[in-house]
C-alpha cells in the first residue's frame, strides 16, 4: 500500500528575492524561414505563481515552454530565468539552470529501458549522487504520486495515468523551482487529470512556480488559476499578475 508523505518544500535560494522566476521581454520566435510562431511576447511569472498557458494547436504553447527550459533559443528579445539573461548564459552553466526547471510532457518521454525507479532517479543519478543517498527520496516521491508498489515495473507496462505520474515524479525529484508541463492531461481520463492537477497544485503550494500548457478548458476553469493565452502570435493575460497593468 502506498503512503503519502509530506512533500518537502522547494529549496528556493535567498538570492534574487524580488526577481521573477520567468521574465519575457519582446520575445519573438521563428523556426528557420517559417513565419514567426509569436512576436513581441512580454510577461512575468512571479516566484511561486501558478499559471495556465492556453491557445489553439499551433499557437506556440510548446515553443514558449521550450524557450523556458532551454531547448530552443529565441529569435529576438530577452528571456530571464531567475534574473539571468538566457542569451548570456554560458553553455557550461545551462545544465545547472536546467536542474532548477522540471518539465512534464503530454507524451511522457519516459525511458523505456529503465524501470519506474530508475526513471524517477534520473536527475540525482546524473547529478552524481550515490544510489544509497537518493533511494529513500525516490521511494518517498513514487509513493506520493501513487507508484510506490510499481517501482520495478517497466514503463511500457504502465497505464497512461501511471506514466504521467511517473513523468511528474521524474520532473520534481530535484525539487525544481520552476515546473513546466506541456499538455500533461492530454493522454489521461478526467479523473486522472484532476488527480494530476492536484499534484501540480501541491507542488506549487510548497514553492514551485508552475506553468501548464493546456487546451483542457474544463481543467483550467476548475483550477481557478490565472491564464496566459496565445492567439495570433500574441499573448494575453487573463486574471492573476499582469505586468502591463503593474506598470
Amino acid at each position: 500500500m502506498s503512503r503519502k508523505p509530506n512533500v518537502p518544500p522547494i529549496d528556493v535560494p535567498d538570492s534574487y528575492p524580488a526577481q521573477a522566476a520567468v521574465r519575457f521581454e519582446g520575445v519573438s520566435m521563428r523556426y528557420g524561414r517559417e513565419p514567426e510562431v509569436f512576436r513581441d511576447i512580454a510577461f512575468e511569472l512571479e516566484r511561486g505563481s501558478f499559471h495556465f498557458l492556453t491557445g489553439a494547436s499551433g499557437s506556440g504553447k510548446s515553443t514558449l515552454l521550450k524557450l523556458i527550459y532551454l531547448s530552443e533559443q529565441a529569435t529576438r528579445g530577452r528571456i530571464e530565468i531567475f534574473g539571468e539573461d538566457l542569451a548570456l548564459l554560458r553553455r557550461k552553466d545551462r545544465p545547472v539552470m536546467r536542474r532548477r526547471i522540471g518539465v512534464v510532457f503530454q507524451e511522457f518521454r519516459l525511458l523505456d529501458h529503465l524501470n519506474v525507479f530508475d526513471n524517477a532517479a534520473l536527475a540525482p543519478r546524473i547529478a552524481g549522487r550515490r544510489p544509497s543517498d537518493y533511494r529513500g527520496d525516490v521511494a518517498d516521491l513514487l509513493a506520493w504520486v501513487g507508484l510506490g508498489d510499481r517501482m520495478h515495473a517497466m514503463p511500457p507496462a504502465l497505464s497512461g495515468g501511471e506514466k504521467q505520474r511517473l513523468a511528474i515524479a521524474r520532473a520534481v525529484i530535484n525539487r525544481p523551482e520552476i515546473l513546466l508541463a506541456d499538455e500533461p492531461t492530454g493522454n489521461v481520463d478526467e479523473a486522472m487529470a484532476l488527480r494530476i492537477l492536484r499534484l501540480f497544485m501541491e507542488l506549487n503550494r510548497v514553492g514551485a512556480t508552475v506553468l501548464i500548457a493546456s487546451h483542457d478548458r474544463d481543467l483550467v476553469a476548475r483550477s481557478g488559476m490565472p491564464v496566459l493565452h496565445l492567439e495570433g502570435g500574441r499573448l494575453a493575460q487573463r486574471g492573476g499578475f499582469d505586468p502591463e497593468e503593474a506598470q
Binding site: 532551454l70 530552443e72 529503465l114 530508475d118 536527475a123 543519478r125
Partner: protein, 298 residues
C-alpha cells in the same frame, strides 16, 4: 511471483539501452578491421624477418670473377685470388670454384653441353665474410689489385640494397594499411556515435532536461563504443592469430614457404595491443563526435 532476490532490480540499469542490432553491426565491422590489422601486422613482421635473413645471407658473402692473366691458367688465377683475399681482414674463407661449377652457373643461359671445351670461361671464387666485421667489396678489390689479379668483386650490395628496399616497402605498406584501418575504425565509430545520438534523440533530450552536461552524455557513448571496440578488437585479434598459427602449422614442412614468410610464434602476439588501441581510438572518436554533435544543440 518469485520471492528470490534479484540484484538487477536494485542495480541501476545503464542509461544507454543495451546493445541492439546497430551495435552488433559495429562489432562485426570492428572485429573484421582488427582481423585485417592483425594479419597485416604479423605479415609485416614476417616480411621484415625474411628481408633481414636474405640480406644477412647476401652481406655474409662475396663472389670474385677472375680472368686469367699472362701465363697463368684460369684455375691458377682463381687459386691465387682465393689465396689473396683469404688474408684480408674480415674474410672467413675463400675457395675457388672449379670450371665445372662455373659452367654450371652459366648453363641456364646458354644451355648444357653447348659450351665448347676451349671457351675461356671466367673462374669464380666464393668468399665467406666474417659476419661480425665483414670486409667490404672495396677491401677485396684493393687487395686483388695490389696482388696484380684481374678480377671483379661482387659483394652483393646491389641485391642487398634492393632487398632492404623491398623489406622497407613491405613495412611501410603494412604501417600505411594499419593507419588506414585505424582511420576506418575512427570513421565507423564516428558514424555510429552520430547515428546513436540521432536515433536516441529522446534519451539525449531527457538527459539534458535532467541536467546532464554534454560531457556526461558524451561519456555514455564514449564508454559504450570503447568497450564494444575493445571486445570486437580482441575477437578479431584472436581470430587473426589463430589464422596465422594455422598457416604456420600447415606450411611448417615447406622450406620454400617458410623462407618466403618466416613466421615466428612470437609474431602471434603482435595483435595483443589491439583491444587497448581499438578502445582508445573508439573512445577519442566517440567523445569528439558526441561533443561536436551536442554542441550544435541549443
Amino acid at each position: 511471483m518469485s520471492l528470490a532476490f534479484d540484484a538487477n532490480r536494485w542495480w541501476p540499469a545503464p542509461l544507454l539501452p543495451r546493445q541492439d542490432g546497430r551495435d552488433l553491426a559495429l562489432l562485426f565491422v570492428v572485429a573484421a578491421l582488427s582481423f585485417l590489422a592483425g594479419l597485416s601486422a604479423m605479415g609485416a613482421l614476417a616480411g621484415a624477418r625474411a628481408a633481414q635473413g636474405w640480406r644477412t645471407e647476401l652481406v655474409g658473402s662475396a663472389t670474385l670473377v677472375v680472368r686469367a692473366q699472362g701465363a697463368d691458367t684460369a684455375d691458377e688465377a682463381a687459386a691465387r685470388a682465393a689465396e689473396v683475399v683469404s688474408g684480408v681482414k674480415g674474410v672467413a674463407e675463400a675457395r675457388a670454384l672449379d670450371a665445372a661449377k662455373a659452367q654450371a652457373l652459366i648453363a641456364p643461359w646458354i644451355g648444357a653441353g653447348a659450351l665448347p671445351a676451349d671457351l675461356p670461361t671466367p673462374r669464380l671464387v666464393a668468399v665467406d665474410l666474417d659476419r661480425k666485421a665483414p670486409a667490404t667489396g672495396a677491401d677485396l678489390a684493393r687487395a686483388l689489385k695490389a696482388a696484380g689479379v684481374d678480377a671483379d668483386v661482387d659483394d652483393h650490395s646491389r641485391w642487398s640494397a634492393q632487398i632492404m628496399r623491398a623489406g622497407a616497402s613491405v613495412e611501410i605498406a603494412a604501417a600505411g594499411l594499419f593507419a588506414l584501418i585505424l582511420a576506418v575504425l575512427g570513421a565507423v565509430v564516428a558514424f555510429a556515435t552520430r547515428q546513436g545520438l540521432t536515433s536516441r534523440h529522446d534519451l539525449v533530450e531527457a538527459l539534458h532536461l535532467a541536467g546532464a552536461t554534454d560531457g556526461f552524455i558524451a561519456r555514455l557513448f564514449q564508454a559504450r563504443f570503447s568497450r564494444a571496440a575493445a571486445q570486437a578488437s580482441l575477437a578479431g585479434a584472436v581470430l587473426a592469430a589463430i589464422a596465422v598459427a594455422s598457416v604456420k602449422v600447415a606450411t611448417g614442412g615447406d622450406e620454400q614457404l617458410t623462407a618466403l614468410m618466416p613466421i615466428a610464434w612470437a609474431d602471434l602476439l603482435a595483435p595483443a595491443p589491439f583491444p587497448v588501441l581499438g578502445a582508445l581510438v573508439a573512445a577519442v572518436t566517440a567523445r569528439l563526435t558526441a561533443m561536436s554533435v551536442l554542441a550544435a544543440r541549443p
